[in-house]
């Protein structure tokens, strides 16, 4: 930065060149559209939570917030007996956010499952890592997405004087303001909805990049000129709700790295668990279509089968384990086996493709990307929705301070503060997740040896484990 101390007049080149926003039109005069302070485009968990957090923020009492939700309004009169197959792992940091606007209380009144321990181990060796907190505090919570959505909807209704929610509406076009203020040109973002109506906003929070019925790689990002780094994994995830053979305390999350991909079992109740199995596209399609008994057998053998072990790796692992036990007298817990699965809930098997995505810039004048619009991650670390909630936390904090300072909400000043905060965190997490995924996708001996020893060593170093847990639970 010191090198950029230019002697010339305003000639300092920005470190990040933000290209001009494409499709910038001049609008003459003030039109009759409503001018909102913040429009959250794209609902879902992250969009609804963003609108909720802003609505409940004390400095936003007299501001106008709009949430554009593509789906219909879901009214949950009674909690259904059967658990939904889409669940999310909520970190303590996200739980704090949800409780800051009262949604967590609703979730507690419905249902959720806390887990206190996490065991992650390899299929190709005996190496494992066990995460838990000192007093066996809750490490995280498994909550169904429907439950979270319902809690958010209830809290949105509580602030309906500030937050308007438009259901079944989706933005089909955005017009960005000109980069420099020109006379007679409206400085706001113009949004056109599917039904043809238009509105203006001082700040657009983009949660979903979909325009109309496009896929999630839509033209919005191109129109906004934001570079995106993304690739598809050669894996799809299969989710299902499983019945366990016998009721257990079920407060442990299990994940085993198979060469084809990680398989995870997340606790839902004493007798139920949720499955997330990432595997190749063909295998995933097979799993979804095979009959129940074979499916259950496949799951059990995935967790218990030691066929991928090799003697070489086993002895190498034992050697390091011995060395560690010499250096560190406390006994490292032995590998435990997850509960066995008895059956699968009917019609609960679904698959979805996986990929990685990261936007190079999270903000533009009057636009901020949060949630899936900004990043997309492999579910192996259970961080997808937590990253979105983290984005919300940071953005609401910056917007709240800006509002209290009377600043223009769309000003790049505080938006870049949000971008820096979140890019630092998210890039690290994305890189780590991608690295883990690649490292564990093979059973080539050198890599297996490397990761076996690495995992054992990490398991032995408690401060390192605590750091990892702290980073993941923000």
């Amino acid at each position: 930065m010191a090198a950029r101390l230019a002697v010339s007049r305003w000639g300092l080149a920005p470190a990040v060149y933000r290209g001009p926003l494409v499709s910038c039109r001049r609008w003459s005069g003030a039109s009759a559209d409503t001018v909102y302070d913040v429009v959250v485009s794209g609902g879902g968990l992250v969009g609804a939570a963003m609108a909720c957090a802003l609505g409940h923020d004390i400095h936003f009492c007299d501001k106008k917030i709009l949430l554009l939700e593509a789906g219909p309004k879901k009214v949950l009169e009674k909690l259904s007996e059967t658990y939904s197959n889409r669940v999310s792992s909520i970190s303590p940091g996200s739980a704090t956010l949800l409780s800051s606007f009262g949604a967590w209380d609703h979730i507690c009144n419905m249902r959720y499952r806390a887990f206190r321990r996490m065991q992650v181990w390899d299929a190709c060796s005996e190496a494992l890592i066990m995460f838990d907190k000192d007093n066996l505090d809750d490490m995280g919570y498994i909550v169904e997405n429907d439950v979270i959505m319902h809690a958010l909807t209830k809290q949105l209704e509580a602030v309906s004087d500030r937050v308007t929610v438009l259901y079944r509406s989706r933005a089909v076009g955005y017009t960005w303001p000109c980069p420099f203020t020109m006379k007679d040109s409206s400085p706001w973002v113009h949004i056109t909805l599917g039904d043809g109506s238009t509105l203006q906003t001082k700040l657009l929070a983009l949660v979903s990049m979909q325009i109309g019925a496009d896929g999630h790689n839509s033209g919005v990002r191109q129109a906004a000129g934001i570079q995106n780094v993304s690739w598809n994994y050669d894996q799809s995830a299969v989710v299902a709700t499983l019945h366990l053979s016998e009721a257990t305390e079920n407060n442990v999350a299990w994940q085993r790295f198979l060469p084809s991909g990680p398989i995870a079992l997340l606790p839902l109740s004493d007798t139920l668990s949720s499955l997330v199995w990432s595997t190749s596209h063909e295998h995933a399609a097979e799993l979804v279509s095979m009959d129940e008994e074979k499916f259950v057998d496949a799951i059990n053998s995935a967790f218990w089968n030691d066929a991928n072990h090799t003697d070489f790796i086993d002895s190498a692992g034992t050697m390091l384990q011995y060395a560690i036990s010499l250096l560190k007298p406390t006994k490292v817990s032995a590998r435990q086996l997850p509960p066995s699965v008895a059956s699968v809930e009917a019609k609960s098997r679904v698959l979805f493709p996986l990929g990685l995505g990261h936007a190079a810039e999270y903000v533009r004048p009057r636009v901020a990307l949060i949630g899936d619009a900004a990043h997309r991650v492999h579910p192996l670390a259970g961080q997808g929705v937590n990253m979105g909630f983290g984005d919300i936390s940071s953005l609401v904090h910056h917007l709240s301070t800006a509002a209290f300072n009377g600043r223009d909400l769309g000003s790049m000043n505080h938006l870049t503060g949000y971008e820096t905060d979140r890019q630092r965190h998210n890039t690290a997490l994305l890189a780590a997740t991608d690295l883990l995924k690649r490292l564990y996708s093979t059973n080539a001996t050198p890599l297996v040896l490397l990761r076996t020893w690495g995992l054992q060593a990490t398991n032995a170093v408690s401060p390192l484990k605590e750091q990892i847990m702290a980073f993941a639970s923000k």
Partner: protein, 300 residues
Amino acid sequence: MWGGGKLSYFGGRFLGVLGPGCRSSQTKGPRLISSAVYSKNQLSWTLEIKPGVFNEYRNMWFKSYRMTFSCLNRMKSYRYPWTRLYSTSQNTVDSSEVKTFLALAHKWWDEQGIYAPLHSMNDLRVPFIRDNLLKVIPNHQPGKPLSGMKILDVGCGGGLLTEPLGRLGASVIGIDPVNENIKTAQCHKSFDPVLDQRIEYRACSLEEIVEDTAETFDAVVASEVVEHVLDLETFLQHCCQVLKPGGSLFVTTINKTQLSYALGIVFSEQIAGIVPKGTHTWEKFVSPEKLESILEPSKY
């Protein structure tokens, strides 16, 4: 490197030099600010000097300096030959200053442009004004903390400070002698329906407010203005005249010290070109002691 907000006060008054933060695509000029809050009908008044805490700006160029004021500099007389006397008041508008600002009238709202230092100063000025006004408001509404307050922004320029105050709920009247500035300000606020109602702009001088209308205000803000006026004493007198009893006067300006000459004029104008040449004349800078000496003896 500048250690963020760790400036500590020692004994008497001091000035924190604001290191400008260099964000990747913005620069802000260094400003030395002394601000005074003067409450009418109070025997004593507080001089609050705001050390700049730019905690948003991550990369700092300049080291911070701690200085105590040396001696009071004698101010040269401001009376220029072309000053007109009409009725009982004197015109404090300096026409050469008017010319300077006329040339830049349309550049107010470019946040990376010439007026970027003023934009970034809002981070200091607005909390300063807001917090001091909140002290006198008994119970304020969250979201609109300054609602119910009438504020006069003297020398509002393009409305850089007027708009944040309006957003915080106050009813603000912004005045500026340069017509073009008012037009720019008017245009900018017209797009926001809320601000449109709360803010009113008038192209006039302070004297016209004093003479023509009998309006009084809860607060008068003269931010970065006193170094551009002709007659400082008269100007401040008029400010006090339009204040309600118990109202507050906020003055922010560049201090008159050797450092401010070095940084504010030599560096900012001539070397780095952060501020256009001729914007400031060092002789017209005002030190806090000068302000104090003017305000204290007055019957306000």
